[in-house]
Symmetry: C2
Subunit: 285 residues, 2 copies
């Protein structure tokens, strides 16, 4: 089984580590425009060999794990080059644009649109973690458009690395993921920005920051190269969530301005039941 | 050494556990208006005996760990009742109001205003954790107003439980803590609210939430009884941070509306250096 990973970062690298463990016979090939990432992936044992796009005709599985803007073009190229029995999957955080772009590709049935919901705020091959996907959810979109045998091949990989599968149409995926993932990144980046701007001349103030601040601002360490294209591709949904979030913050502000701390208490109490909702979601990746 | 803990929650309970470990001769007394918390604290070995305010004349140290609105009244009462050699300290997240309220108390020199920056999103005696304060920062305000011998007594306790001490005036404390703690709680509560409101009819959508969402929304599990009074007491500073935060979010929204994803990239890149700033802050309490 020849597995090609295109994009040797956190997501692709972690998949490679789990596939190596679960499929002893797998040969892992890596492709990345960043030469340093290729060397690191070789050193870290993430891949067996560096490869190029010309080698793709011998691929059994190709995993495309690059930023979502580049992914569309890369997936098209990959589909052009693979043999008729290869499985090509992307792992991006937006699904509508890529599904639309590949809809009429002659090898559409070789492609599976997936979104393994796992990660950390770090990036690059050094951020790759074994067991990152254990117990996590993988959203598969437009499954009916993928050849049945290739669906089976993908499901075997995901089952062995411990993922739960959920099927969803691409439009719904992008709408809901804006709320439970993309908005969190904006709230965190802007929180980081607000505090850094204010405290730029008083760096030792950060000694006062506790674990609560660290937790809310953690995602502000995320890669702009990954996230700017996500916001761009999911613009409509992200703007909707962002506007609702700003509205809620403004309402909170107005409650404070008119000293209605009883209503603020009730608001917080109502939101407290996020405890139950979050049961089962791991605190840390 | 008779140590009284008034308010047997996460903060007071955790202090009691560490004091018991480090001071073998300490007798720990607990006072709480919540009878169930008193029973739990006895069962969990957090305190040796339940006590009442009438017992305070035999106290060596009194730790007042109740919500900041109640704390002012309780500290006044405690100072009225303790002997001349007792140390009374509060541990609240706002310092100006309590320092002002106690400024002219005849036993002001028995009082030390502290803010141990540690905690989790949970509350009550069952949330108490040993070693919660290890390596964390404790802000002490208006230290010069406390009797020197009582300062020494407090510092011995804080040193033994592993805290770093920083001195600050109460006004500066409240200003900076609004940025690095209070604002995080609002951003998290409103993020939780936004997502719950939107997804209330589609609860299984939360299966899509990953560790990133869990991390940014963690503080939305915090106790409203603790946080509403903090926002009230620190209203001016909190409003200032909230307004700046809303402004930054609005600016982000405008960049998205005019498709300026290059500027969005740069904004995120600039904020990324929060990585360095956060070095040394523990991810989890």
């Amino acid at each position: 089984m020849n597995v090609f990973i295109i994009g040797l970062g956190l997501i692709g690298g972690s998949l490679a580590l789990d596939i190596r463990r679960e499929f002893k016979q797998a040969q892992l090939f890596g492709i990345d425009t960043n030469e340093e990432h290729v060397s690191q992936a070789l050193e870290l044992g993430i891949i067996d060999s560096a490869a190029s796009m010309d080698d793709l005709n011998k691929a059994t599985i190709v995993i495309v794990s690059v930023p979502v803007d580049i992914s569309i073009r890369v997936c098209q190229q990959v589909l052009d080059m693979v043999n008729d029995h290869a499985l090509v999957l992307d792992v991006g955080s937006t699904k509508e644009a890529i599904c639309d772009a590949l809809a009429s590709h002659p090898k559409r049935r070789n492609f599976l649109a997936t979104h393994p919901i796992a990660g950390t705020e770090f990036s690059g091959p050094k951020a790759a973690l074994e067991h990152l996907y254990q117990g996590k959810t993988n959203i598969i979109c437009e499954v009916e458009k993928t050849a049945f045998k290739l669906q089976e091949r993908a499901l075997e990989v995901f089952a062995k690395i411990g993922m739960r599968i959920r099927y969803m149409d691409a439009k719904s995926h992008d709408k809901h993921i804006a709320y439970v993932s993309h908005l969190s990144h904006i709230s965190s980046f802007m929180l980081g920005k607000t505090v850094i701007e204010k405290e730029k001349n008083e760096r030792d103030i950060f000694d006062m920051a506790g674990s609560g601040f660290a937790s809310t601002v953690r995602l502000a360490k995320s890669s702009p190269a990954m996230w700017a294209p996500i916001f761009k591709q999911n613009k409509g949904n992200v703007l909707e969530t962002l506007e609702e979030y700003i509205q809620n913050l403004q309402q909170f502000r107005e409650l404070m301005l008119r000293d209605d701390f009883e209503e603020i208490f009730r608001e917080m109490e109502n939101t407290n039941h996020i405890k139950q909702i979050l049961n089962g979601i791991l605190q840390e990746a």
